[in-house]
């Protein structure tokens, strides 16, 4: 059974978004996603300053087996990327919700949060 923290919102494609206290959004992939992918060996992140649209491919994660697109749960401007992933992409496997975050953005429409799945609904998606 994979871990699904209660303070996050999810896309059914397994990305999570966390609203930080300063109103920015941190984005990563779920424990279930890292388990499906297996050993992660490379991540291609967006550029800082880049505008991203909700549910558009924004990053790429490569496991030994395959490459997968990562979709941004929200629209906004990328303000920081996790540079740790460049040399240690495997931390996504070991810490998908903390050290293995992908990027942070300033959201352009907080209303988009309502389109995302609650932890309970996301857990149900994973069990299907």
């Amino acid at each position: 059974m994979s871990d699904v923290p209660g303070d996050l919102k999810f896309l059914s494609s397994h990305e999570w978004a966390r609203v930080e206290s300063d109103g920015t959004i941190t984005i990563g992939i779920s424990d279930h996603a890292q388990d499906l992918l297996g050993d992660i060996v490379f991540v291609e992140l967006p550029e800082v300053g880049q505008s991203v649209d909700a549910e558009n491919d924004t990053a790429i994660v490569e496991s030994v087996k395959a490459a997968s697109d990562i979709y941004s749960p929200l629209s906004g401007e990328v303000i920081e990327v996790n540079s740790l992933l460049e040399d240690q992409p495997e931390i996504i496997n070991s810490s998908p919700y903390e050290d293995g975050w992908f990027f942070k953005l300033t959201p352009s429409d907080m209303g988009e949060l309502d389109n995302l799945l609650s932890p309970e609904d996301y857990s149900a998606v994973c069990e299907d």
Binding site: F42, V64, K65
Partner: protein
């Protein structure tokens, strides 16, 4: 979907199962990289019972294989040995790659799983004129135990004849209906055991108890890629001839009187102009994948197999490219041009860089 006799054992070990040519097979049990390293550093066991096994009876089997097999069966027919080679159609296209084993005056053949039906029909069609009986052994399973410690582990399994210890590379022996061969698909030492399914459970459990790690198809793919071994369907298909598939060494034309299927077509190929399969190593960050386009000073090509190499800790691949390549080239990955080195497809020799 087809299942091997070890299906429940895989589930109990927590394997992730995938559909591989309509067989539900374990892709990994824990971490693909850990499984890969277990085979490079110690010993691992694979259930590859999805592979097709054929036996042959009666008739002139040597003449039969001389006709359908592009390598020359006469290299092994007096010995207890195995031979690797290709099955070609009249146009020289590769129908499959396979290993023919010969011991105790019997032939046994192992070919790929996706080509089972095609091969059975092909064998039966051509067996008629030689009076050979083709016996599909769907009651057989295949285990591979591979790694530097594989032989040591195998010798501790009571049910396996200790004489396997004296088998040299590509030698094989029967023990009843069980065939043991010093062959593999990992670039490591070890054996492949082609045995009745009723014996598989027990051998599998003993190997695990002795510390062999269960290895899924994911690590099997990275291991064979590091060893520079082709995967049928990926690196070569019916639309490729052996010379552009790194299999020229398996084409035996030494007996001028031998008329094997595909020979005339191969003789008309100008090998100096054929594309070649070459090893590639990505010099930048990223992962090579099948289908990526390659360029070099004098031509172009395409990635056939690409992955991350746990041993080299960088991305490697096999590519089919125009001749005239030097040491370096470029690969296009998602609209970015990245640098590759061209190397021998055998990234590792005896498991070492």
């Amino acid at each position: 979907m087809n299942k091997t006799s070890l299906h429940n054992a895989h589930i109990q070990l927590g394997a992730k199962m995938v559909n591989f040519s309509n067989w539900e097979m374990p892709i990994s049990y824990s971490s693909l990289i850990e499984e890969h390293n277990a085979v490079r550093n110690a010993a691992g066991i694979f259930d590859v019972s999805h592979m097709s096994v054929f036996d042959f009876d009666d008739g002139d089997q040597i003449a039969f294989f001389e006709k359908i097999f592009a390598n020359d069966i006469k290299k092994i027919y007096k010995d207890d040995k195995a031979i690797y080679g290709a099955l070609l159609n009249e146009e020289g296209g590769i129908l499959d790659d396979l290993i023919i084993y010969h011991a105790n005056n019997k032939f046994r053949l192992v070919s790929n799983c996706s080509t089972r039906e095609q091969n059975r029909q092909w064998f039966e069609k051509h067996a008629v004129e030689f009076g050979v009986k083709v016996i599909e052994r769907s009651d057989m399973g295949v285990l591979a135990i591979q790694g530097p410690n594989a032989l040591k582990k195998i010798l501790e399994i009571k049910e396996i004849d200790a004489q396997v210890n004296s088998l040299q590379s590509f030698e094989c022996m029967f023990e009843g209906d069980k065939l043991y061969a010093r062959t593999g698909y990992t670039g490591e030492d070890g054996l492949e055991l082609i045995v009745p399914t009723q014996d598989i459970d027990h051998l599998w459990n003993q190997a695990l108890e002795l510390g062999c790690a269960p290895i899924g198809l994911g690590a099997r793919d990275t291991l064979r890629l590091e060893a520079g071994l082709n995967l049928y369907g990926n690196d070569m298909t019916i639309n490729n001839h052996p010379y552009e598939s790194n299999l020229g060494w398996t084409i035996d034309m030494s007996n001028q009187n031998r008329k094997f299927i595909g020979k005339d077509a191969l003789l008309s190929i100008d090998q100096s102009k054929s594309q070649k399969i070459v090893g590639i190593i990505l010099q930048d960050k990223g992962v090579l994948r099948s289908g990526y386009e390659i360029t070099h000073e004098q031509g172009k090509g395409m990635v056939l197999s690409g992955s991350y190499s746990p041993t080299l800790q960088s991305s490697i691949g096999l590519a089919r490219v125009d001749q005239g390549f030097q040491e370096n080239g470029k690969v296009m990955i998602r609209n970015k041009v990245l640098n590759i080195d061209f190397v021998s497809p055998r990234f590792l020799r005896k498991g070492k860089i």
